[in-house]
Symmetry: C2
Subunit: 256 residues, 2 copies
């Protein structure tokens, strides 16, 4: 069993296609870092959109480590970073240090990997894990609630769930409100603006086998869609599926 420290150290100097399945039982987090001038607006955006943007930690300007990554460095410990300048994705990097000016505030956002462990532990198969693929993610027509300069569409992740287990999947994930919580939509993809499940905006294509319904959860990649739309002068994120592995335990996010 790998520790979170071991995964972070490995990620510092190696490529990793995804962090899924590593350091099982420990929380993985999405990253959005923006200059201080945007920090209040984004924290307010997250407060108004807790399902796609559940904040699990904030590193203030000039702070690069915290109790979520003891001994770690937020600028290097994620396998791959994306840089957005004025809303354009301009670079993908293994080390974001050169872009991390001292005024950058880092927001860590809960990730559905946490509730996937709970789904598996309760006998619900998670298709993309079984297939060793990345979860399919889609921009939708579900609007977020704007705050300051930030606005844009919600991104969702999709998992096919057998009809008889949809109710359990809702119940189980609703107990993790800090990591996206209950689904935002069950069934018809077209109703939320998704034209083709085989053409995700992020991640790998997902199939919905006979007898399953597509179930959609709010996704921590939403901030990247928001950045593309809202165009702050600089933003640094993780690459989808390549997360920060933290020292917090998934179990800490279980309510009640």
């Amino acid at each position: 069993m790998q520790t979170p420290e071991q995964v972070r150290e490995y990620a510092r100097s190696h490529d990793m296609a995804t962090t899924a399945g590593h350091a099982r039982g420990f929380m993985q987090a999405n990253l959005l870092a923006v200059p201080q001038e945007y920090a209040f607006d984004f924290l307010l955006f997250a407060q108004r959109n807790p399902k796609p943007c559940p904040i699990v930690g904030v590193l203030e300007a000039g702070q690069y480590t915290s109790e979520l990554l003891p001994g770690g460095d937020i600028r290097t410990d994620i396998p791959a970073y994306r840089v957005f300048e004025n809303g354009e994705h301009t670079a993908t990097l293994a080390d974001a240090t050169s872009y991390y000016t001292p005024d950058m505030v880092s927001f860590l956002i809960g990730c559905s990997f946490t509730f996937e462990t709970a789904l598996q532990d309760n006998g619900i198969e998670v298709a993309h894990i079984a297939q060793q693929r990345n979860v399919p993610m889609f921009k939708t027509t579900i609007p977020t609630t704007p705050a300051g300069v930030f606005s844009g569409p919600m991104v969702v992740s999709m998992r096919p769930i057998p009809a008889a287990q949809v109710s359990d999947a809702v119940r189980i994930t609703s107990r993790y409100p800090s990591v996206h919580g209950a689904p935002v939509h069950v069934g018809d993809p077209a109703a939320i603006g998704i034209e083709n499940l085989n053409r995700p905006d992020f991640g790998d294509p997902g199939e919905v086998p006979e007898g399953c319904l597509p179930v959609f959860w709010a996704c921590g990649v939403t901030p990247q869609a928001i950045v593309m739309e809202s165009k702050p002068r600089l933003a640094i994120t993780h690459a989808p599926g390549q997360m920060l592995v933290t020292n917090a335990r998934d179990q800490d996010f279980l309510i009640p």
Copy 2:
């Protein structure tokens, strides 16, 4: 049955000792308003201290109404306001308009009145309601997690609960994480720095009958203790027990 609109309109022009018991089933909220220069620090403080400071709404600078108080005005619709200047409580007012400069950001914070309704509905008597008194509130030695300029002690509210119902009280309130959630302490007041249950720092004295334990929940008056310690140049709050009655329903805060 009063509507939230009726209570807010009444509060605009009348004294009300407490809003407890009014517009039952609708969420009541604590207020902390600070100038924009403190807004990121306080929102971050709340994110780091979700039990005492669960944010249920934010009115941006220059915004005085929202979907939580449709047709209302945050500057007038609370029965009594407290003004703090450099940490000193300098005024208590029925109308805060003269202090509400256009740069004030208003934070609405969940209130334990929400889970008290749930406790009563589940057969647990809430002593201070039965006695028509305000809940006793105490500053403790439990530290909060600092953020920017804000730091200080957690304030808790105390309710005596029969030993056989403590477990139910924990379980029921844990399902309301946005309105303080599960207790932070059960039993011995001295262990969290409370010397005398008959001398609360806010609210009315509370007795603990034979066979009951004192049970302590994180309290939305915590921001007032934080303001006294952290001394921002200006802060406006509600007066303890005299809350904003919102149009949100208590039931909306039930998880799962």
